[in-house]
Amino acid sequence: MQRAYMSALMELAEKDKNILHLIADSGTGFDEMFRRNFPGQMYNFGISEQLMTGAAAGMAIAGKIPFVFTYGSFLVHRAFEFIRNDICFQNISVKMAGMGCGLSVSTLGPSHHTTEDISVLRSLPNLTLLSPATPAQTAESVRTAYETPGPVYVRIGMNNEREFFGESYTPSISGLDEVITGREVVVFSTGSILAEAYEAVNLLRESGVDAGLVNVWRLKPFDSGAFLEAVKGAGLVVSVEEHSIHGGLGGILSEVIAEKGGPRLRRIGLADKFAAGYGTLERVRAENGLDAKSIYESITEAMR
């Protein structure tokens, strides 16, 4: 995902000298290449997320297009007031990328998990919120962030995500991409957990359920029309996210269904808790009910 992010950013930085790559002592492995190719377009602020975010606002006001990059948790949770007051309130072109989102940093525990970023950011006016699931979507997110006026947040995982969409992928305008067609149960997934949701939906299909899978790439603005179209006639809608079930994708779908009507909803994510356990992402997902098997079981139970 980082490679995809950086190659897309370098393509843009080549064309537009106002594009800046800002980091806070947590880079990508491609930073030196960026610095070599685009000297004067990269700044390392050191371990200072509030400063980096506030300075990005100052740069944007002065005509630059800064792309701020660091761990999602430090960016969103620590610098939130700067994102709110300096960037979103002023509706300026600061692009923010949170890396290692969800449970990606699985060995270090909740201090390094980014599992409430969607809920807190979603409440901010003017902000566009993108949540790519694969490298191709990450690259598209960078391009979309550049083309979208105003502030944009891109939520990026860090788990060697496999590609679902192929080289020639262009994201749907609605922000919803159907991965598996199915009508009885429709599963909506966002971010890198797509791989687990994909397996879970296949398990459902193997057991005879006509289950579908939709990847949600853009969380805000959310296309509720396209969502309602996708769930027409379904008996159950499921949200799957490496995030709290409060205010994230599950929250978005709840709000749409409560206001506009629609099928019953099962939210799968962290149910008002910090993630338990340490170790491989695979294991931490399993211990928190977010692996394919647990997702499958939760959906089967909800269908009863």
């Binding site: 200072s48 400063l51 944007a60 630059k64 007051n85």
Partner: protein
């Protein structure tokens, strides 16, 4: 033409009357940094053009201590950024002018402030952008001494030196007071010069109510490679004895009896007070 003492008194009268009509303001904070703002705008220490507020080669000011927004709006009105009619809408229904300066509401406000500790990071971003574009202009950030308790200020203090921002000037409105008590009572060890010099800044000290002195110091450039702190020693509430150096007046308007003292000391007539 008014001499500057009269002009500053006139500005204090206008701030007070505008605040009174609007209902409230952080008057003591406004009066503390008025001479600083006056020097930057009316003595033209800053290069700016109200007719062309986005002029790239302008100097930029960030009022990080946003509570003094009414002082900034009033001085900017005198400088030509807004009409007296617009200034008079302060806190009136559907106004664009509120208690904290907002970029949404007035051309010439470089960035919206209000929550403390945001001005220096934004100023660092602007100063870096000025350098990237080879614009020979400066960025001024006006902060309060209580505000220096915010951690984000110190992230900026470290970084401004690391980036060699010799186009950045932070002016410290050093009145020794914060909302509840004195700065010294709060943090005990108040040694700004030593602290900033230890962080590699160059430091000057001035009488923050002496416009000539402010002009002399603020007109000179930074030492090459160094960000600069100008400690302006000020009196919170300057100009009204009742308010001066008294934390009680952080966010308070005078009652009927106190208003008489304000009127007398600011030179307001009974008619102007009605």
């Amino acid at each position: 033409m008014l001499n500057y003492d009269d002009e500053l008194k006139d500005l204090r009268r206008q701030i007070f009357l505008t605040a009174r009509k609007g209902g409230t303001s952080h008057l003591a904070s406004c009066f503390s940094c008025l001479e600083i703002l006056y020097t930057l705008y009316i003595r033209h220490v800053m290069n700016f053009d109200p007719e062309n507020p986005d002029m790239p080669e302008r100097d930029r000011l960030i009022l990080s201590k946003g509570h003094a927004g009414l002082a900034l709006y009033t001085v900017m009105c005198r400088a030509g950024y807004l009409t007296p009619e617009k200034l008079a809408t302060y806190l009136q229904p559907r106004t664009e002018l509120g208690g904290e300066p907002s970029r949404r509401d007035l051309k010439g406000i470089e960035t919206s402030t209000g929550s403390l500790g945001h001005g220096l990071p934004a100023g660092i971003g602007m100063a870096l952008a000025q350098k990237m574009d080879a614009i020979p202009a400066r960025t001024f950030v006006l902060v309060g001494d209580g505000e220096l308790q915010e951690g984000s200020v110190w992230e900026g203090v470290i970084s401004a030196r690391a980036f060699g921002l010799d186009n950045l000037v932070m002016i410290l409105d050093c009145n020794g007071l914060q909302k509840m008590c004195t700065v010294e009572e709060t943090i005990s060890f108040v040694e700004w010069r030593r602290k900033f010099e230890a962080f590699g800044w160059s430091v000057d000290e001035v009488d923050g109510h002496n416009v000539d002195e402010l002009e002399r110091v603020l007109s000179t450039g930074n030492v090459t490679g160094l960000p600069r702190l100008v400690i302006a020693h000020t009196v919170k509430g300057k100009g009204v004895s009742l308010m001066e150096n008294n934390p009680l007046w952080h966010f308070r308007m005078p009652n009927r009896k106190e208003s008489k003292i304000f009127a007398a000391e600011l030179g307001l007539t009974q008619e102007e007070m009605n």
